[in-house]
Amino acid sequence: MRGSFWLALVLTAIGLYGGLVLAPMDYLQGETFRIIYIHVPAAVSSMSIFVFMAVQGAAALIWRIKICEIFVVCAAPIGAMFTAVTLVTGMLWGKPTWGTYWIWDARLTSELVLLFLYLGVIALYQSYSDLRAGARAASVLALIGVINVPIIHYSVHWWSTLHQGETITLTDSKMHASMLWPLLLMFVASKLYFLGSLLLRARVTLIKQESGKAWVRQALAIELPTAVIKPTPSSAIT
């Protein structure tokens, strides 16, 4: 888990160096295009994490796998963070290039709706006192909301929007190689960050949800230093 974070950090450093320093200037946008190295990986992550959440939610509801419920709940804050980063970097990119921070076109609106869907999943989970029931309700909501993701992805095809179309597809890319490799590196880095963050959060959520069970007490007792569980005079009375 920690290895994933370190790898993500290293790849981010290399990718950002490649993107911010090494890559040549764009012929149209000049230096401002460089925010693509944060904006696009964050955008791809925001959509793929929602799909991940929906798949985990489906697995949790159909086959009643407990760990999938926990993955749904843990992926939501990470996805919300990536969506927020996408929106903010998009706004910062839009001001110099389009002249405006915001416009009500299909892609931006549906990305904003995606943010609210993430926040809804988080809010629903936190409003339950029974954490397992909350995780299941969050799974249902994730499944219902996943329909929004294809709408965002295809919005640039279906409606004429200000946001540009796809530059990279699975087979081809309109970007030059010198600009492309840092972007691909940042994709991988964002995935690795997501993996590390998800596993860390899942660990904590699992402990929190199962806190009454014996295995948790054993696991925690092993990891706590003995100085913390030193008996105090008051506990000797009880």
Binding site: L61, T109, L117, G120, A123, R132, V140, I144, N148
Partner: protein, 244 residues
């Protein structure tokens, strides 16, 4: 397909028998819900009052000049109707949850889906029709031309159908929570955005004199998809909630 246990001596359940029982359950639930709502007729006027209030707020906020109100009038109308539709949505399952009817239903193994249809349709008829009565008043307040009326009626009927069934899922998700109203709105409003977009697309097209068929078809498609699928989703949610 789930078949309810037959109480008759002959165990053969044909397809038409199942369909007949299914529809019977739906009608029973629908009539029961409508009767409950009609017990306090004054409650039917609450959505009308709320919608008119929201329209008034828009009028006050925008100011008296006609050229400032005219561009936002259709939007104000649909936001007023949207919010009024949400008014009593969180109470959809509240009374049944509190007195244990939902638990009994889940335990009995009876078909829940037709009962959910009955609830959602009753909600649509009660809220939707009463808001339709408010429509002439709202059109006068917001100075919308009378020729828009047929488009407005059809658009509102389709939008409120979609909203009622969306509210079914939302109420099912928040049935266990005490103060679920705000959370319900937070969950359902993002999903209601496409309904709002296509409704206003239709009205804007009608205002320009263009054919409003395309947005109306999209709106109807979304609403009918919700009509078909939402009770199944709500049944899944309720089975999870109640089964514990």
């Amino acid at each position: 397909m789930n078949r309810p246990p037959s109480s008759s001596a002959a165990p053969s359940l044909s397809q038409s028998n199942f369909a007949k029982r299914w529809l019977q359950l739906l009608v029973i639930a629908l009539v029961h819900e409508l009767r409950q709502r009609l017990r306090q007729p004054s409650q039917l006027l609450h959505p009308i009052g709320f919608a008119v209030l929201v329209a008034l707020l828009f009028g006050f906020a925008v100011g008296p000049q006609p050229d400032r109100l005219a561009p936002v009038a259709p939007a104000a109308l649909f936001i007023a109707l949207l919010l009024a539709n949400f008014l009593s949505m969180e109470l959809l399952f509240a009374s049944d949850f509190e007195d244990g009817t939902l638990d009994a239903l889940a335990a009995s193994g009876r078909e829940m889906v037709p009962l959910l249809y009955g609830k959602a349709l009753a909600f649509w008829l009660a809220q939707g029709l009463s808001l339709l009565l408010a429509l002439p008043l709202l059109m006068i307040l917001l100075k919308l031309p009378a020729m828009l009326a047929p488009t407005l009626i059809f658009t509102f009927v389709m939008m409120s159908l979609g909203l009622s069934f969306l509210g079914l899922i939302g109420s099912a998700l928040t049935v266990r929570l005490r103060a679920g109203a705000m959370l319900l709105m937070l969950l359902i409003l993002p999903q209601a955005v496409p309904l709002l977009i296509f409704s206003l697309g239709a009205i804007n097209a009608a205002q320009l004199g263009e054919p409003a068929a395309a947005p109306l078809l999209y709106l109807s498609a979304i609403s009918l998809a919700l009509f078909a699928l939402a009770p199944l989703a709500a049944k899944g949610v309720l089975s999870q909630e109640i089964g514990n």
